[in-house]
């Protein structure tokens, strides 16, 4: 707060050219990032958009995308939250190594993720025989799509959740322990409510990444209508044969992703507000 106040106080004495730099910078950023999205909508009439939603290929892809991403997010949150809490609150030997490994999928190209998952979980992969004996089939199955999404999207959630847990004032958790709450109880009743806003932001990022996932899904899960063909794969499928319909389906995905981002913004905004008033 102090820095903002002092910045405002000295604002008049700042060189005007810096304000111009800031303005030009944001204008360039906006123009570049918005142009492709704008182009999708300029080239798609509302009629095409509605027509695209009427095709079974689109609706099945949309349904599959929502289904697989929601399952993936649930797995990520349930398994990942305690892990993020551990990484945020405990120091142990090899912690920075673990942090690097957890974040690795962030920097892996999707093609590498796809090849790696095939080499690990494919029929000829490291765990291929074990999976077959357990009658678990992932490649070319809907479950395989979920596996890919969990792999590529979980670092986005883990990072945010870890940061959120790190920024909790430790005295709250110490107080909870002093007052007789166990570690698990402190985690559930104190840490998670305090870290909620950051966790929601992590869910939004991970969900967005999962909705857009293309390359690794294609390599590991393939592309088949109703089973593994998510919206990005359906878009690519049409790209070769029917560009206008690929555009229309892209527009649908933009709307879904944007609404998701906005909804999370609003929820976490309301959360932050009610948190501040409490």
């Amino acid at each position: 707060m102090d820095t903002i106040v002092s910045y405002r106080a000295r604002r008049g004495s700042r060189a005007p050219w810096f304000a111009v730099v800031l303005g030009v910078s944001i204008a360039l950023v906006l123009a570049f990032l918005v142009l492709p999205v704008l182009a999708i909508f300029v080239n798609t009439s509302p009629a095409q958009l509605v027509a695209s939603l009427g095709e079974s290929e689109s609706t099945e892809a949309l349904k599959l995308s929502l289904e697989t991403t929601m399952i993936a997010i649930a797995i990520i949150v349930i398994v990942g939250t305690p892990a993020a809490f551990l990484l945020a609150t405990k120091s142990f030997p090899g912690r920075s190594m673990v942090l690097t490994l957890v974040e690795l999928p962030l920097v892996l190209p999707p093609a590498v993720a796809g090849i790696g998952l095939l080499a690990a979980l494919g029929p000829h992969g490291l765990l291929g025989i074990a999976l077959r004996d357990a009658h678990i089939q992932l490649v070319l199955q809907t479950a395989g799509v979920v596996v890919v999404l969990v792999f590529v999207a979980s670092p986005f959630y883990l990072r945010q959740a870890q940061t959120a847990f790190e920024s909790i004032d430790r005295s709250y958790m110490d107080a909870s322990r002093t007052l007789g709450a166990g570690q698990a109880q402190t985690f559930v009743r104190v840490a998670i409510p305090l870290a909620r806003t950051g966790m929601i932001a992590g869910v939004a990022l991970a969900w967005g990444r999962a909705l857009g996932e293309f390359g690794a899904t294609l390599m590991f899960a393939g592309s088949f209508q109703g089973i593994t063909q998510t919206v990005p794969l359906a878009i690519y499928d049409r790209f070769a044969t029917d560009f206008p319909s690929a555009l229309a389906l892209s527009a649908v995905l933009v709307i879904v992703s944007a609404s998701l981002l906005l909804a999370v913004r609003l929820i976490s905004g309301a959360e932050a507000l009610s948190g501040a008033m409490r």
Binding site: L118, V139, L140, G222, F224, Q225, Q229, A240
Partner: protein, 116 residues
């Protein structure tokens, strides 16, 4: 490839076509993906070009389609009008049709152009 496969399946009787389609697990947008899924053991068979089988160096085995079912797959080559290098372009085409290019194409599994 998908369109050629549709053509082939269209030549089959309805019951055979349904039986094949019932076992389709994947519709890859390009042939590379089919090669990958086959070599990784994700699928047992796929429709692909004989040249792609040859490129795997023996890891995949080609089962030729019955002669009556084989679709006509031909690639064209031409010199564009108004090119800046017409001589070189023509030489390249000649090389593909008759010279070393033809030998390389045949070695890679392509067949001679249908007209010649």
């Amino acid at each position: 490839m998908g369109a050629y496969t549709q053509t082939v399946l269209g030549e089959l009787g309805a019951s055979q076509r349904t039986a094949v389609l019932a076992n389709v697990k994947d519709r890859e947008p390009d042939v590379t993906g089919i090669v990958g899924k086959l070599t990784e053991g994700a699928v047992d068979a796929g429709f692909m070009y004989i040249t792609d089988v040859a490129a795997t160096g023996g890891r995949l085995k080609a089962i030729p389609l019955p002669a009556g079912l084989e679709p006509q797959v031909a690639y064209g080559v031409a010199v564009v009008k108004g090119t800046a290098h017409p001589g070189q372009a023509r030489a390249f085409v000649q090389g593909l049709l008759h010279g070393d290019g033809r030998a390389d194409l045949l070695a890679a599994g392509f067949r001679p152009p249908p007209s010649s």
